[in-house]
């Protein structure tokens, strides 16, 4: 049985942060969970989807975050507890609905979990979703460890029901994707009956209609919303998720939230004796801030250091409050991102914080290892550990697709370019995708930008315009852009890299597939039907057919006006079906290999660069690394010497 359903109270288990959040929701009696995949958030919905049947919950990978939020809100309106999960960017997508939802309020407990990615480890931005809580005027919780990830999630539902609004619980990569010990709680029994009561009075929160704001009358719903946030502030004053540890009168008080509280605790330990002068105020409820609680602790020290990721959210909100207190408390020294003590970009870590504390305390840390080792090892690593750039996987269809896209644009010869967006294929901005992408922004924005470029004919723009997006991205955000391009007669060729799933985040299904999140069969919405339905000439190719793909692109590029779609369909090499079996057994005939000679110049290893290939320097021939090769056989069709041989794999 899944850990998420083990009903052994008090059992201590090693859980990933995302599992802990999922477990917390189960312990809260969750009924509906929705989300859109995105690192580092995906495992929450994934874990819930795996137990959906046993747990009797409904789990959905929605088409995008806004729809996910709407679906979760509907469950709440019907009196159920619902969870809505997304990565930081997703909140931007959902925010339009969320702003309205915050004003209408909710009924059954609803928790929104954005997972931020400080350091942009797996993102193309490091947006700090906490600011939304303030803008939307809803409570914000930031679990500081794995146990809290579970406990705060469970509690967030109760809080939501108490104030009748959704609650934001914000995680970060190093919590979501890290694992730690969690002591399990009880799983409630029984099921809530869903019913949406709407016949009551207009403003009745129990039984009236759910309407965000009466036009011209913010004094009703908006004021009510602000009363809720005041209630939350009161509750937070005594929350066990905010606590202090350290000496009674510390020289330095660290105010930290989220995983930074663990880093801070470690940094204090790293400072040894000097660390004894530091106290840690660990904040779990960071909007609205519990004013009295903070006032009490801030008054204990003269130097205050804020440690958080990514932007100075906590810092600036505390400073705002502190501005009101100066008369009573006298001036203090504040350190954080605004003072330049810590960076306001990238991840935190214990070393960074220990160094910052050392500066504030004016002490020097003892080196943890001989300096000579560090210098020698560093010099050795510079030589022996060559940089590892990100690449498409062995057998990745994107490598083949961009090989053809790049070739077609070069052949076309009119300086055409590709607008891209987010997914594994973002890597096509780099050598692994032949530096093809020339714009990369949010989901679906490649199509939108291409549509914009495609209307600049009147201003003399003559370059061919390509957009690429993934299959999941197509449904998520590219459809409106394509419709816009069609209606406004923009000239563009849109390439849909259909690798049969949301590959980047681990193969979550999307509406184009015949299954849903709960692995039930579902009616697929075919991409080609949508495209043809809106009047776009649409072709489907296998990107492993390099010539066919290139020729299809060339003929599209030669056409003058309007929008066209080329669907390049081939499953991701990490997809379960592909992982089961290689299609080909591939090898290099070393006698035929031209290697560095004219006529080849190592096309396969120098340009195509599938990690399954390597260059045998001694023998001066290319070789296949059987351990790495995924057996797609594509390299066999680029080799000018016919030296790469493929046979059907047994």
């Amino acid at each position: 049985m899944s850990l998420l359903l083990k009903n052994k109270e008090g059992d201590k288990r090693l859980l990933m942060g995302n599992e802990a959040i999922a477990r917390g929701a189960i312990e809260a009696g969750l009924a509906v969970a929705t989300g859109y995949p995105g690192t580092p958030s995906s495992e929450i919905i994934e874990n819930l989807s795996r137990i959906s049947r046993q747990a009797g919950i409904y789990v959905e990978w929605s088409v995008n975050e806004k729809v996910a939020a709407e679906a979760a809100a509907a469950a709440s309106f019907a009196g159920l507890r619902s969870l809505c999960v997304m990565k930081q960017n997703g909140v931007n997508v959902a925010s339009d609905f969320l702003l309205h939802l915050a004003e209408s309020g909710t009924r059954g407990g609803m928790v929104l979990v954005p997972c931020d990615d400080p350091g942009a480890l797996s993102s193309v931005n490091e947006g700090d979703a906490r600011f939304f809580a303030r803008m939307l005027e809803v409570p914000l919780l930031e679990p500081g460890d794995f146990q809290e990830a579970k406990d705060m999630t469970r509690w967030a539902f109760a809080l939501s029901e108490e104030i009748r609004n959704f609650v934001v619980l914000r995680s970060v990569t190093r919590l979501s994707h890290a694992s730690g010990m969690v002591s399990l709680g009880k799983i409630p029994r029984g099921r809530t009956q869903a019913q949406f009561r709407h016949a009551g009075a207009l403003l009745d929160p129990e039984s009236g209609p759910m309407i965000s704001c009466l036009p011209g009358a913010p004094q009703f719903t908006h004021r009510r919303q602000q009363d809720k946030i005041r209630t939350a502030r009161e509750i937070f004053e005594t929350s066990p998720f905010n606590y202090y540890e350290g000496p009674r009168r510390p020289e330095v008080l660290i105010v930290a939230s989220s995983i930074c509280s663990l880093y801070s605790r470690e940094a204090i330990a790293m400072l040894g004796k000097a660390g004894k002068k530091c106290g840690l105020l660990k904040m779990g409820t960071t909007w609205p801030l519990p004013e009295k609680f903070l006032q009490k602790h801030l008054s204990s020290a003269e130097k205050i250091v804020f440690v958080e990721e990514v932007l100075p959210f906590l810092e600036e909100n505390v400073l705002m409050l502190a501005g009101r207190w100066t008369r009573g408390k006298g001036p203090k020294s504040y350190y954080g991102k605004n003072s330049g003590t810590l960076p306001s970009y990238g991840e935190m870590n214990p070393d960074l914080i220990a160094e910052a504390l050392g500066k504030v305390l004016a002490v020097r840390r003892r080196p943890v290892r001989p300096e000579s080792f560090a210098a020698k090892a560093g010099a050795f690593a510079d030589n022996a550990a060559p940089r590892r750039e990100l690449t498409f996987c062995p057998g990745c269809p994107h490598r083949a697709s961009f090989w053809s896209i790049h070739s077609a644009l070069k052949l076309d010869g009119r300086e055409g370019f590709v607008c891209g967006d987010i997914g594994c294929y973002t890597l096509a901005a780099f050598p692994t995708g032949f530096n093809s992408l020339r714009t990369v922004h949010s989901m679906g924005s490649g199509a939108g930008l291409a549509g914009g470029f495609g209307r600049l004919r009147a201003f003399g723009l003559r370059q061919p315009i390509l957009a690429v997006c993934g299959d999941s991205t197509f449904f998520h955000a590219a459809v409106p852009a394509l419709i816009n391009a069609v209606h406004h007669q923009a000239d563009l060729t849109m390439v849909i890299l259909d690798n049969r799933g949301t590959a980047m985040t681990g193969f979550q299904p999307h509406p184009g597939l015949p299954v849903n999140a709960m692995q039930e069969s579902a009616p697929p919405v075919e991409i080609e039907n949508i495209c043809r339905g809106i009047g776009v000439e649409t072709e489907i190719r296998d990107p492993f057919d390099l010539k066919g793909t290139r020729d299809a692109l060339l003929s599209f590029l030669e056409k003058k006006e309007g929008a066209r779609v080329l669907i390049l369909r081939q499953a991701c090499s990490l997809s379960p079906e592909k992982k089961k079996k290689n299609s080909f057994k591939v090898r290099v005939d070393e006698n035929a290999c031209r290697g560095e000679r004219c006529g080849c110049n190592r096309l396969c290893t120098r340009i195509f660069r599938c990690p399954g290939l390597y260059w045998d320097n001694r023998k001066q021939v290319a070789r296949i690394d059987d351990v790495v090769c995924a057996g797609c056989g594509v390299c066999a069709s680029i080799c000018p010497a016919g030296a790469i041989l493929k046979e059907d794999a047994v």
Binding site: L14, T39, P40, L121, S122, S123, Q147, R174, H177, A178, S179, G180, M181, I259, L262, Y263, R265, E266, M270, N349, P350, D351, A354, V368, R369, P370, F373, A374, K376, A377, F380, A381, N383, A384, A385, P386, R387, R388, E389, L390, T391, F392, C393, C424, L427, P431, T432, T505, R602, T605, R606, I607, R609, P611, L613, Y614, W615, D625, V627, V628
Partner: protein, 220 residues
């Protein structure tokens, strides 16, 4: 519970995306949790799995939750599924007394496959590492896994080798329980074989040593 284990004991498992780094750290974490330790594992996956460097930080403590990032220079053991990644981690987190066990099979970075960047021969890496960490150990984990017909199990061979050092309480029984949870039942057998192969490789390597390397005296 093993008395006298440093608190926290800092273990790093490193490799390249696709080598089964995350799985290895999960199995190790679960084995140790079964032994009653408080475990924190910090790792990144996502984009880095696309051919990038991957690293898991495992903090092992009798009773407290440590941060998911090990401070620089503070690793107690480094298990490298890929030699160059081992060197990278050694330079950031290692010291001369660290327990360092590395696979010998390189995974070439794209820049090396393309030419331009150079990946030194494994002998050079080995002697360089030994000059930094005299007790470092290199084993042919992937070759061994290839013999089993499942090259991906190089990660499990490495777990076996780490277990054989007896630095941590990692016995075969716990491995069976933990592996069972993550590996499909059909592959548990292979996993056990790989684990045993790792232990054997360690023993062979040790018997060739002039002086016993383990257990080493640890810094406090």
């Amino acid at each position: 519970m093993k008395p006298g284990l440093k608190n926290p004991f800092n273990l790093i498992v490193t490799g390249v995306g696709g080598q089964g780094n995350v799985l290895a750290s999960r199995i190790l974490g679960n084995m140790l949790a079964l032994g009653g330790f408080q475990i924190t594992i910090g790792e990144t996956f996502g984009a880095s799995q696309r051919g990038g460097s991957v690293m898991s930080h495992i903090r092992i403590s009798p009773g407290s939750t440590w941060s998911p990032q090990i401070p620089k220079g503070c690793a107690d053991a480094i298990v490298a599924l890929e030699p160059a990644e081992g060197v990278r981690v050694l330079s950031d987190y290692g010291h001369d007394k660290v327990c360092f066990i590395s696979n010998t099979r390189p995974v070439y970075p794209a820049g090396v496959i393309a030419g331009g960047a150079v990946y030194p021969p494994i002998e050079e890496i080995r002697s360089g590492v030994l000059s930094l960490v005299p007790d470092a150990l290199f084993i042919d984990a992937t070759e061994e896994a290839i013999k089993l017909g499942r090259p991906i199990l190089g990660n499990i061979v490495m777990i076996g080798a780490l277990a054989a050092t007896r630095l941590l309480p990692l016995d075969r029984k716990k491995f069976r329980v933990a592996a069972d949870k993550f590996a499909g039942s059909d592959s548990l057998d292979y996993n056990l074989k790989a684990f045993d192969a790792g232990r054997r490789l360690f023993q062979t390597a040790m018997s060739r040593r002039s002086r016993p390397a383990y257990p080493v005296t640890r810094r406090s």
